[in-house]
């Protein structure tokens, strides 16, 4: 975006926004979050096929629109604003990018078109145990207890993945597992033998989580798999999530602004109390800073030929620095906005009937998803230090 979105991007945002305003009202969100599936297949089909959101960042030859991370981030921001319920993040952001990065040409041609068109839903399974996105998962030295054993007919997968977003809705799972080399990405059909998917009850019912167990499940290795691709995927996912989060925070700020101006106590609107005014000003500042970071992270992804980790000119440390910077900043403002929005609504903000808690819960689940703000700050600083070392070495 180079600090400003183009006219085309603004128009694209408007069309996404209008669509979601229509199809993802809080009535829709409340209806869908109470279901096990958690999304509306018809809306999914429309956004994938009519608006091309699922493929906006994918190559035209595979059925995408040929744009990049900035446009993907625009979709995520708007979905964050309306709390869209559906597997966009799991399928279009995480799984599609994993296939794009780690799949060879044939695998991309075979697997991606149906995901881009939304006909199939995929998801990405990474974390194990407590679902922690620790330094090890972030680094290329990660080890996983899930294993892929080579057989004559491809691989057999064994292990357990936790907190997998939208696994219940997935046709295809992209799974990170150890193999005879290091670790790699494996494609597993959700309906395949030995795949057991258990939905988790989460405080945030708008983002569906599941545990997935594999017992000798047939799996196809993505042929260009390399361990360092996991880091890039975390960067992409973090950037997308950061944009989703600033979208959500914007809705919360808007809600607080509108409610405090309507709400009268002691003969005046509560927005006229300086304590409220100043906190809203501070929240605006924090949000605009986090937005800038989220936009910049998307731009840095776009600038650094992210689709190939072989690109020597790509500044992967800058990509990681900005992705984690954005994730840390967005996590904090999202939760802050949610808490302020509840507080400024007073008692009514704590009720089920009021919509604020829907965003509050998404803010909470986004805070821990992909790693905590503290973990991302550490990750960012490591990437930053790597750059300054590079600079010193090259100087």
């Amino acid at each position: 975006m180079a600090f400003i979105f183009t006219e085309d991007q603004e128009q694209f945002r408007d069309s996404v926004s209008r669509f979601l305003k229509d199809k993802s009202s809080t009535v829709d969100v409340r209806r869908l979050m109470a279901t096990a599936q958690g999304f509306d297949s018809m809306v999914w089909q429309q956004l994938s096929q009519q608006l091309g959101m699922t493929g906006v960042h994918m190559p035209e030859e595979l059925g995408g629109a040929g744009f990049g991370p900035v446009e993907m981030a625009i979709v995520c921001e708007e979905m964050g604003k309306s709390l869209y319920c559906g597997p966009y993040f799991a399928s279009a952001v995480c799984a599609a990018n994993a296939l794009r990065i780690a799949g060879d040409e044939l695998q991309q041609e075979t697997l991606l078109p149906e995901i881009i068109s939304g006909e199939k839903i995929a998801c990405l399974a990474v974390t194990e145990d407590r679902g922690i996105w620790t330094d090890e998962v972030f680094s290329t030295a990660a080890t996983f207890s899930s294993t892929a054993t080579r057989t004559d007919n491809g691989h057999l997968l064994n292990g357990r993945k936790r907190f997998v977003v939208d696994a219940c809705n997935a046709d295809t799972l992209i799974v990170v597992a150890n193999d005879d080399q290091d670790f790699g990405f494996f494609v597993v059909d959700a309906a395949a033998q030995g795949v057991s998917i258990t939905a988790l009850d989460s405080m945030d019912p708008t983002r569906k989580l599941a545990d997935v167990e594999f017992t000798d499940s047939p799996a196809q290795r993505l042929n260009n798999s390399k361990p360092e691709q996991l880091r890039l995927l975390v960067d992409i996912a973090s950037t997308a999530l950061a944009n989703e989060m600033v979208g959500g925070a914007q809705t919360l700020l808007d809600s607080a602004l509108s409610y405090t101006q309507l709400r009268f106590q002691f003969g005046r609107s509560i927005a006229s109390f300086q304590a409220i005014k100043h906190r809203l000003a501070d929240l605006l500042l924090e949000l605009e800073l986090a937005k800038s970071a989220a936009y910049q992270a998307a731009q840095t992804l776009a600038d650094n030929a992210l689709w190939s980790t072989n690109d020597q000119t790509a500044d992967i440390d800058k990509v990681t620095e900005h992705a984690s910077l954005a994730k840390a900043a967005a996590s904090e403002v999202y939760l802050h906005a949610a808490l302020e929005c509840i507080q400024m609504h007073g008692g009514i903000g704590f009720t089920w009937e009021n919509d604020t808690h829907l965003w509050f819960k998404r803010a909470k689940s986004s805070e821990v998803f992909l790693g905590s703000p503290a973990e991302h700050r550490e990750r960012m600083l490591t990437a930053l230090c790597a750059q300054s070392t590079d600079l010193r070495n090259s100087a």
């Binding site: 974390t127 407590r130 679902g131 922690i132 936790r162 907190f163 988790l200 009850d201 989460s202 405080m203 945030d204 989580l209 309507l262 709400r263 009268f264 106590q265 002691f266 003969g267 005046r268 609107s269 109390f273 304590a275 409220i276 808490l339 509840i342 507080q343 007073g346 008692g347 009514i348 903000g349 704590f350 009720t351 089920w352 009937e353 009021n354 604020t356 808690h357 509050f360 819960k361 909470k364 689940s365 805070e367 821990v368 998803f369 905590s372 503290a374 550490e378």
Partner: protein, 424 residues
Amino acid sequence: MQSQQPQSTQEITQHVHQWLSENWDAEADLVQWRTLLAESGWGAAHWPEDYFGRGLSVEVSAAIEDVFADFGAVGTAQTGVRMLAAATLLEHGNHEQKRQYLRRILTGEDHWCQLFSEPGSGSDLAGATTRADLDGDEYIINGQKVWNTSAHHAHYGLLIARTDWDEAKHKGLSYFILDMHQPGVEVRQLSQMNGHASFNEVFFTDARIPRENLISTAGNGWQVAMTTLAHERRSFDRSRENKRVKQKGRIFVELKKELDISNEPYTWYPQRAGRVDLVMQRAEETGAINDPVQRQEIARLHILSESAKWTAQRAKAAQKAGKPQGPEGSLGKLAASEIARLAARVHTNISANDALLTGPTSVHDGVVAEILVSVPAVSIAGGTDEIQRNIVAERVLGLPKEPRFDEGPFRNVQRNSAAKDTSK
């Protein structure tokens, strides 16, 4: 009740002990036992002799309660709003009102609820717009109340409603006893974001109150409400009663039912406070205790909660020593908000993804998730942090009051559009 009053506290407590030896029966009917208590005057010894008490001091009355506790005997009903009703009636009710309601308050036969807050008047309680219009010998009630704990169990409600729209805000209110069991009163449970439903909404559509249920005089409702609110702040210690129900006997079975109803809205309150007690255990379970960054946050929480505990103890010690209350006495609620918020953050970081889970496979039965979705209530319930800061700034620090925008006839005061309709 007509018996000669012994002189010293010791004599009184010995007398009560003797009386209990003669009268206590764990297999008695709960209401029958408490009726005996009410008539004997030992169930509320600090109440006047004319109204089921013995006119003794509050201190002696407390000593008598200790005798009951030591003896293992059940006392009068004290849960919920009923004691606020009693205190208000004792101070502002007339003779007929006291005779009519006080006995059944002590026996626990009647449940009560408070009908003060409204959707349009939360922090600004005196801005109530529920209207009470005199029609012959009855007041006709229209409007809505909210945050009414246990209203769905209540026989009677303590209601403030506006009887005069041309008076200033605080002067147009009146205070009533409302019979909850009538067609114009509808009670709805209000679900919270944490899935619990501790409160109700109450809707009035031409509900009726006989004129004799007006407490004090018309227009004096705010003064009467102040009495209720003052007693609300002296919170009831439920732990003693809750312990007692583990004893054996028919009477305790009945008591347990009563307590279950009154405890029900509060089951999530420990989580609302942030469960600081769970932090170290969780940090050890997850290994967060070994992370230098997490240790800092855990330490901050420990510092905050210990300091708040000591500050409360300072306030208590000063009060006990008869010293004027220092600033430390007014800060507990703000400190509690800070503790709860920080605790939620620490629990999130310690538990990471597990913090989200609520189902049967979750950590400690989903308690961490319940903390996270309950904590936001601390800084709102019982007076928002913003109101608390105003109180501390104005009453403790002596800083200037907020400029007023709600003087003059209430009819002309700007208020929430939803609430405006009732003033026509």
